[in-house]
């Protein structure tokens, strides 16, 4: 396994397309079903699996690219391009990719992909609430933070496990 500090390899175009397609599908699937979570607006963050996987395999720059392109293309497909939901998704994707990269740099071996994913879930929530507070010009939305934080642990754990399993098999997939 590549250590977090090592310079990232450049993904081939097909592999980048594969990651992007995976991200778009997960994004759309999640948008179509509100999911089993009891808090309105709370999501599993399935698409974050792909952002994390890209981060693990190719580093921050490519994770950012895949994250932003995923949101842009998925929102074009679902007809929400440039809507409020789109803005929230972009801010969440960008900030969580940055924070996850920072976490891997600082935490090194102590932070597994699962922990990185939990960090990503947390920062995704914070970024979206902050973006929504800016949009609504009201800080009251942060009262919504506690239930979201409670859910960020389990959802981050789940998506992190998914990303970790994918990551373990990534070298095999990469030989395709």
């Amino acid at each position: 396994m590549r250590s977090p500090g090592e310079p990232a390899r450049r993904p081939s175009l097909p592999r980048l397309a594969l990651l992007l397609a995976l991200g778009i599908v997960l994004h759309l699937v999640e948008g179509a079903f509100l999911g089993p979570l009891p808090v309105p607006g709370a999501k599993m963050g399935l698409a974050n699996i792909v952002t994390l996987l890209t981060l693990l395999a190719y580093g921050l720059r490519w994770a950012l690219l895949v994250g932003v392109l995923r949101v842009a293309l998925a929102s074009l497909l679902s007809g929400t391009f440039l809507s409020l939901g789109f803005m929230l998704a972009v801010s969440g994707a960008v900030v969580s990719a940055l924070v996850m990269a920072g976490g891997r740099r600082l935490g090194g071996e102590h932070l597994s992909p699962v922990g990185t994913s939990v960090l990503g879930a947390l920062s995704h929530n914070l970024a979206q609430l902050a973006a929504f507070a800016l949009w609504a010009r009201h800080t009251g939305v942060f009262y919504y933070l506690p239930p979201l934080l409670l859910l960020a642990g389990p959802t981050g754990l789940f998506t992190g496990l998914a990303a970790a399993y994918l990551w373990q098999r990534w070298t095999a997939i990469s030989r395709l």
Binding site: M1, G31, G85, Y143, P146, A164
Partner: protein, 135 residues
């Protein structure tokens, strides 16, 4: 390829810290108006634009208010209020027939009495009655 453990101690600490922060946050905001919904509301009563009474909507209570035309009996309940009676009755009795109001901002108006009753506090949308929801 080295296969690292799925969960490191730092991961566990992170998850536990998140859960603790969430639980603590829930406990902290439990008394915030808008969370308490209906019980946190009140009704402002105005005559000629001046506030003459503020009636808490936290349980059953009744109150007479002096208007221009006569006296108006307000009946409050948890999260709602209505005009129950007037003495003497005004010609059109619109305030009486308005019935219960519960959504913040929703008014009861009696023109002969120069009287406006308005529900205030709580979340602007009111519980379970959104104008629009989108994701």
């Amino acid at each position: 390829m080295k296969r690292p453990g799925l969960l490191t101690p730092l991961d566990g600490l992170l998850i536990l810290a998140l859960l603790a922060a969430g639980a603590a946050g829930l406990w902290l905001v439990r008394g915030v108006p808008g969370n308490a919904a209906a019980a946190g509301r009140w009704a402002r009563v105005e005559v000629d634009g001046r506030t003459v009474a503020r009636v808490p909507l936290d349980g059953p209570r009744q109150e007479w208010v002096q208007g221009r035309w006569g006296k108006v009996l307000l009946e409050a309940d948890t999260g709602r209020i209505r005009v129950k009676d007037e003495q003497p009755l005004c010609p059109r009795r619109i305030c009486l027939s308005t019935g219960w109001v519960s959504r913040p901002g929703q008014p009861i108006v009696c023109v002969p009495n120069h009287l406006v009753v308005r529900v205030e506090g709580g979340s602007p949308a009111g519980e379970g009655s959104y104008d629009a929801v989108t994701w």
